[in-house]
Symmetry: none
Subunit: 416 residues, 2 copies
């Protein structure tokens, strides 16, 4: 397989001021076309470290894709360093100069002198034209490998990747007759990673040499990523399908039913296609479940609304939870969760009502009801029930897990 | 300055399936305490490349912070590779074993056999206990530098960084008498970055050589980070104070009043100390404002609850918004926002009521009310008003900005 490394250049990434979303995007695009991404490396605007980075990456990479450091200001060092690194010199490019003039003309702005310096490019490189900005991209072929330098501005970089770099890399793969790896992700919910691993057992028993299975846990659920190598993409499909079938036979109860959809999208899609409506009653999550559901565009088709009943007063006054329930069993109890779920369903006149009431922490716990104890209630016309969960993480993790556990209960009701 | 590199281990990052938010977070924390972050390197679950990475990073780093590859499954390779790399062997740790048993006991779950394998740790390492998961962290001191290995699960990693690694690094900086950069962050809200920059003007006019000012924008507001170099932390304080005073004189209206507190914490603290109560009425944010407020522990002292009125039916039935208001002006209007805020305040009998109603997108926009149009209402006993904002980002950015803009209106009312 063609081996690519991604080199991100810029102090703002190195010191953690911004997330490196460029590297993630480039890695995803490369993986899609069957390239192996072996390293992402980030370095600040520092000459010595940038050269060390190039020397390290070129040991094992066929292609190094750089982003950043191409602006017109003095802290933008990529172009002069590459010029020096390849023993090259800058030459004035009429083509790039015309692009820059056009850029400013279209925007009815005066050309700044600084921008004109961008028309100078190393003589050995092939220029990638920048339709959305003034810094051109550069492709060097030196020491039997490609060095590609792109701007750090995400939309400029993406446009150049899509129109120039990706087609060039596909050509290179075909020229070399390189092999590829194709991936497929299975989404699960309602089961921790270690229990899933026990159900699946030793994956080497059903995987062939070179095939991989990765567990990717989050509060939403565990994703399983299968990887299958092959001479080209279409030849990987049969094995991917076989491995998926094997996995699903072991863990079918926990696999989300819709292809490539995580839990929230799955629940929303099921509500929509089954024409069911929903209302929520939230205590410790304070609106997080409603916020998660309405993060999906089109939620107004099935989500009517809900009650945030953070106080006992609100639970009685707004959800008609009986005062004797709150007194006898407490706000964090099976009885309260059931009344909340059933009453919110009736008040909002929906098919389903979900409730969450718990102790998110860090305070409020007791020996009988430790921090992380959450009751989740679900009510439909057929039945109302509540289940207890003990999450035991920190405040916001407990709240997130409560939200996704509630959605998982609703998913189960919807596929029944 | 102490030099740190961050090594992220995991196929899911390398192939671009997930964003590397751990590296950004760690870099930010290290920068805050005056450490120089020189490289971020990401590598897949691959033995040879992980070893190449260690050899590269140790050339110039005093500390290498690794995350990932510590789970109980076979694709988690960090522990065996570090054990081999340092010529060490695994030993059973009673302490870690007890932590794992406690972890499962608290969650009322059976211990899985796989999880017990996590009680084995290299003999040369100092263990960092994991309060939120089963994989312990490890600190090696070898070849005159620190190698720190942490889990990839963000909340486990963050807890261990905050309680163990950061204090250890601060001690190391003091022990070495390294020169430092001390940072101070000023939190603002209610003003975009470019307007803030205009008020502040050219920072070189009030900064000395080596001192820095960085603008860190987010949906919550813009943070300003001042950096002052010095031989040790305490010698930087005077200049930090002077620069802070200069900045505040230029932008006082937008600086949040409580030291080191962002907008949400500020609002919650002000409600608590002024003994004021709050209820919320949310349409397009679907509960996000309530969720944000209740992310703060102790919110039950001032937050009573709220209404998620995602449908027009809920706005009338649960918040008594007049049907003629909805018909005449629409759900996204000054009149609806005012009625929502005033009525939620009266229904919940609180000092303040806030409402949010808008078009989050991507659908539902019109020429008069484009996607991103949001009305925010605020009601107190003295007055009720609503303001229009046009955010124009994507769905979830619009919703986040609505939440923080609403909190900013409440902040203004609380400091009046």
């Amino acid at each position: 397989m063609l081996k690519v490394s991604i080199l991100s250049i810029g102090d703002e990434i190195c010191i953690g001021q911004v997330l490196n979303s460029n590297a993630q995007w480039i890695a995803e695009k490369c993986t899609e076309i069957g390239i192996e991404v072996i390293f992402h490396l980030t370095v600040g605007d520092n000459k010595q470290r940038l050269i060390e980075s190039l020397i390290f990456l070129e040991k094992s990479s066929d292609v190094i894709i750089m982003t950043g450091g191409l602006g017109p200001t003095s802290d933008d060092i990529t172009k002069p360093i590459l010029t020096e690194y390849f023993g090259d010199k800058l030459v004035f490019s009429d083509e790039v100069n015309a692009d820059i003039e056009e850029f400013f003309r279209k925007r009815e702005r005066e050309i700044s002198k600084m921008s004109l310096s961008q028309a100078e490019v190393p003589s050995k490189c092939r220029v990638i034209r920048n339709k959305l900005g003034t810094a051109p991209g550069m492709v060097f072929f030196e020491k039997e490998r490609y060095y590609i330098s792109l701007p750090g501005v995400p939309y400029e970089m993406k446009e150049m990747m899509e129109t120039s770099v990706i087609p060039m890399l596909i050509e290179e793969i075909e020229r070399r007759h390189e092999s590829v790896v194709k991936y497929k992700t299975i989404y699960t919910s309602g089961i921790p990673e270690s229990n899933l691993a026990e159900l699946i057992g030793n994956e080497r028993e059903f995987l062939k040499e070179g095939e991989t299975l990765a567990y990717l846990p989050s509060t939403k659920g565990v994703r399983l990523r299968i990887g299958v190598p092959g001479p080209d993409f279409s030849s990987c499909d049969e094995r991917l399908y076989e491995i998926e079938k094997t996995l699903i036979s072991k863990i079918s109860n926990f696999v989300l039913p819709l292809e490539n959809k995580e839990l929230t999208d799955t629940v929303c899609e099921l509500l929509k296609t089954k024409k069911k409506t929903l209302a929520v009653a939230e205590s410790c999550t304070g609106g997080m479940l409603g916020a998660e559901i309405t993060s999906v565009s089109g939620a107004s088709e099935f989500f009517i609304g809900g009650e945030i009943t953070y106080s006992n007063w609100a639970k009685s006054a707004r959800l008609n939870v009986q005062e004797k329930t709150l007194l006898e069993f407490g706000a964090v109890s099976e009885q309260t969760a059931c009344e909340m779920a059933e009453n919110v369903r009736k008040i909002f006149n929906t098919d389903f009502g979900i409730s969450i009431t718990g102790i998110a922490g860090p305070t409020g716990g007791s020996p009988e009801k430790p921090v992380g104890t959450v009751w989740i209630g679900l009510s439909s016309q057929e039945k109302t029930y509540a289940k207890k969960f003990v999450f035991g993480g920190n405040r916001n993790i407990n709240r997130e897990r409560a939200v996704y556990t509630a959605l998982n209960e609703l998913k189960k009701a919807l596929v029944e």
